[in-house]
């Protein structure tokens, strides 16, 4: 009888550490996400030129940049396991849930790194200062949790497919659409200086989305991982 009490926190932490280590060696996903967000932001800023569109457009552009930057690098967590043929070892070592949660946390870390770089650049290049910075950050963080929480399982799905990058974006977009709508709304409220009460419905939606999507991923991941 194998021991039933798995040390979940320990396993998740180990998967996360392993991801950090292997990412640190190649820096593939990190570079892809950072460079992609820089390039998109530059294109947006450059093509706007002297025009300063209103906060509605700015909030939408900000999340478009985030979405495509995320789509460029987040699939890598599972794709690299298939390419290096290490998925089998990971299956032996850790239970499915620990693998998934570890990788969600790693993707979240990647996105937070990207946001740390992107937000100041966004403020500088596009001259858009969020009036309510705390609301801006909480909307951003909830959005990033949802981004990594719902796309990590899609990364596992596309890692076995023959066309990975394009498929990842195609499958992610319909899943992420409720998140994008809510996150853009929160960002818009924070740009014009509204308080938490004004952004409460989309905040609730975003929170519910994060919880539901992560739970659903954990429930469904067993089917994918042991295939």
């Amino acid at each position: 009888m194998p021991t039933m009490s798995v040390n979940w926190a320990g396993r998740i932490l180990t998967v996360f550490k392993k991801e950090m280590l292997s990412e640190f060696r190649t820096r593939y996903a990190f570079n892809a996400v950072i460079m992609f967000s820089l390039v998109t932001l530059t294109v947006v800023s450059f093509s706007l030129g002297m025009n300063r569109p209103g906060p509605e457009v700015m909030a939408a552009l900000f999340w478009v940049v985030l979405f495509f930057a995320a789509a460029s690098g987040l699939a890598q967590v599972f794709v690299k396991e298939e390419e290096a043929r290490t998925a089998g070892y990971l299956r032996l070592y850790a239970p499915a849930t620990a693998v998934l949660v570890g990788k969600i946390i790693f993707n979240l870390f990647l996105l937070v790194c990207m946001a740390v770089l992107l937000v100041p650049l966004f403020v500088i290049l596009l001259d858009t200062v969020p009036q309510n910075f705390i609301l801006f950050l909480s909307g951003l963080f909830l959005g990033l949790i949802g981004l990594s929480g719902s796309t990590t399982i899609i990364a596992a799905i596309v890692s076995r497919a023959s066309v990975k990058g394009a498929l990842f974006a195609v499958l992610s977009f319909p899943v992420l659409l409720p998140l994008l709508v809510a996150a853009i709304e929160i960002t818009l409220v924070s740009l014009v200086g509204g308080n938490f009460a004004a952004a409460w419905p989309p905040l609730q939606l975003l929170l519910a989305y994060d919880v539901v999507m992560i739970t659903l991923s954990i429930m469904l991941f067993d089917f994918i991982w042991h295939m």
């Binding site: 719902s150 899609i154 899943v175 659409l177 809510a182 709304e185 519910a208 469904l220 089917f223």
Partner: protein, 225 residues
């Protein structure tokens, strides 16, 4: 066999009656040409079948995950294929109607238009995923998992978003049941509409069974050869 005759007779009756009877819309309340509202007899059943098919696809996918029986995968694929066709039908007819009555083909604030478009995107992703996976079992499992994720995301979009953003909607929603919860259709319109719903649903069921049977034969012959 009797089904086919029912579908034929009902469809023929619906097509004739939809154009012979006066338009279901009161001319005093009509925006644009009153005859445009005849689309009600075809657009609403198509949208209903699209929604039904999406649900069938989701249920069959869940059953596949539970039993790992390939037949449920075939059923899910058949439902999604037909769902795609009927969604496209509802989208195109709705868009033409929107142009004739509200003056524009497309409006992003209309949640029904947006959600049926998202449905098409979902089907596109589903079939793109299926064609990118080569192993039968992996393909069936992964696309079933993806269907369930899509369904939950679509539920968020369809049920939660309009409650949070009460967007300006021009879509007639009080056509069948009015604001007091009573039938607002005249008896003749209700009869034709009911017949049309029944005919579309029967047509869907017939097409669904044929598609499933076809793919069963296809898989059997592929395995034997």
């Amino acid at each position: 066999m009797i089904w086919k005759w029912f579908i034929f007779a009902a469809m023929a009756a619906v097509i004739i009656l939809a154009f012979v009877l006066p338009s279901p819309m009161d001319p005093r309340l009509s925006l644009g040409p009153v005859d445009a509202y005849r689309i009600f007899y075809f657009h609403v059943p198509a949208a209903w079948v699209a929604a039904l098919s999406f649900m069938v696809g989701m249920v069959q996918s869940a059953r596949y995950l539970k039993t790992k029986d390939m037949d449920f995968d075939r059923r899910a694929v058949a439902a999604n294929r037909l769902g795609m066709a009927f969604s496209a039908m509802a989208l195109v007819t709705g868009s033409i109607f929107a142009k004739m009555t509200w003056g524009e083909f497309w409006n992003w604030s209309e949640i029904r238009e947006v959600s049926i478009f998202i449905l098409l995107l979902i089907y596109g992703g589903y079939f793109a995923l299926r064609s990118a996976l080569s192993d039968d079992e992996v393909r069936a499992t992964f696309s079933a998992v993806m269907t369930i994720i899509f369904t939950v995301a679509a539920l968020f979009l369809i049920f939660v978003l309009p409650r949070i953003y009460p967007a300006f909607s021009q879509h007639p929603s009080d056509t069948i049941v009015d604001n007091e919860g009573k039938m607002s259709l005249s008896p003749m319109v209700a009869l034709v509409f009911g017949l049309s719903m029944a005919a579309f649903t029967a047509l869907y069921y017939w097409l669904y069974e044929i598609t499933v049977r076809g793919s069963r034969y296809f898989d059997k012959n592929r395995l034997e050869s």
